[in-house]
Amino acid sequence: MARQALHDVAIVATANTRQARRLDGETDTALVLAVMRELLARSGLRPADIDGVNVVAPVGGIHPRQAAHWLGPRPRWCGTEYMGIAAVLEAAAAIATGQATTVLLATAQAGAYGERGATAPWTRPSYEFTECFGLYTAAEFALCARRHMTLYGTRHESMATVAATIRNNGHRHPGAASYGRAPLTPDDVAASRMVASPFRLLDCCITSEGGGGLLLTTAERARELPVTPVYLLGAGTDRRGLAYTRAPLWEECGDIGARAAARSFAQAGLRPADIDVCEFYDPFSFEIIRQFEAFGFCAPGEGGDFVLDGRIAIDGEFPVATNGGLLAFSHAGTLQMLQKVIAACEQLTGAAPPALRVPEARVALASNGGSGALFCDVMILGSERP
């Protein structure tokens, strides 16, 4: 494997606040501060050790430079990416190029949703050629899923299996917004009310509130801290224009993430078969099927069968969204993107809840985005320094 600058960077702490449908009385500022304190406590670092910051609360409006000021005069680098994996990659680049040694990332959302209002605010487009026709996130992704069903005969049964598997993970994760809910079967998913065909309610992610973050530093420095580091093995981005503005064509977005995964695997010197944990982005059940194809785990059109027969369960060959993902853990602002990296770290450090722990997890793949979003970023993480 060729040496990558990315390989000299490690994640040394992750943190989450409580996640819930609503956190009444909370503010995103209070949540972000709680996350920052927890990251410092877990890493054994002091505020003066942090010289890079990317803290955002897109709904409430915390700017990274404002949060940097809270840490005193030392931070000199501020990130500008608000998206999970891309923000981790940006911070790693800052460390690898000597702009910072230790970067704190955090984000939170509270107070964004009304009583039952459930469309994430950044996906309510005011776009000229889509909004007037009633397009929104679920419908956009549904158009992609329908195309896959037409091309390959994919059935809703596969999507329902994905949704039930991931939701049941979240129902068993004490930190999840859906913790404690009763187990679901694929039949329950198929019986839930229609949202935008072929997606039913339980095929679609939840909306919730909460805060979370992580701390990166050099692999050298990580060895001196009282932590179990997680290493960055490879990463890549794949972007194809502005989402929600035009008809999502399968030819343009069906394999989105393929370029990100190819770069990530090449940097890591690994193949799909080497992945122990699949923290794939799950805004809708179908996206898991699509990503197994796009990332090269199976051939185009085979994803529907690939997810059946327990393969994606915690004890399966490729466990998916082990914390419950966007379908059941949390979907709070931009935090759900960072949650994919946090979930990977929890599996690789043995911090995942016992019922959801993947045995001997050494390599995890996290992803953000999806077909309807017209972007898909990938990061491969490992428990051993490359």
Partner: protein, 143 residues
């Protein structure tokens, strides 16, 4: 205020209306005349939609407007039961139409049985007025 929370233009019923720009104005003016206009690249012949300042296939700036036949096939669809705004009457059908000239647009399919819509169904444009704006929607053809 968030940088992504937006309040769209709406008609009296609360349905969203497009806000034409200098770039897109010819398309909407065409709709008002009952013509479906699309950008066509003078260098590579590719149709470009929604309107762009350059051809997204060859980066040429020699884009002109051309009239589409308005006929095409359903490329994909979704039947929406839970709308983004309560003003939309459900269920309604969102379609991606592949026009005869090889370009695609997002729209609505009108006057159809939502349970009978299928990819590949032939459709044609139907201009519908919403609060003074004329929107290009589609109906089944040949039935």
């Amino acid at each position: 205020m968030s940088h992504w929370s937006t309040a769209p233009e709406t008609d009296a019923s609360g349905l969203p209306l497009p806000c034409p720009t200098a770039l897109s104005r010819p398309h909407w003016d065409g709709c008002a005349r009952g013509e479906l206009l699309v950008q066509c690249c003078a260098d590579c012949g590719r149709r470009v939609f929604p309107p762009q300042p350059v051809c997204t296939a060859c980066f040429s700036e020699r884009l002109g407007w051309e009239r589409s036949s308005g006929r095409g096939l359903i490329y994909s669809f979704t039947v929406v039961h839970r709308p983004p705004r309560p003003e939309f009457e459900v269920p309604y059908v969102i379609v991606i139409v592949e026009l005869e000239e090889g370009w695609h647009m997002l729209s609505n399919l009108l006057d159809c049985d939502p349970d009978a819509v299928a990819v590949g169904d032939p459709v044609e444009v139907s201009f519908e007025t919403r609060a003074g704006m004329v929107l290009p929607m589609f109906r089944r053809r040949g039935a």
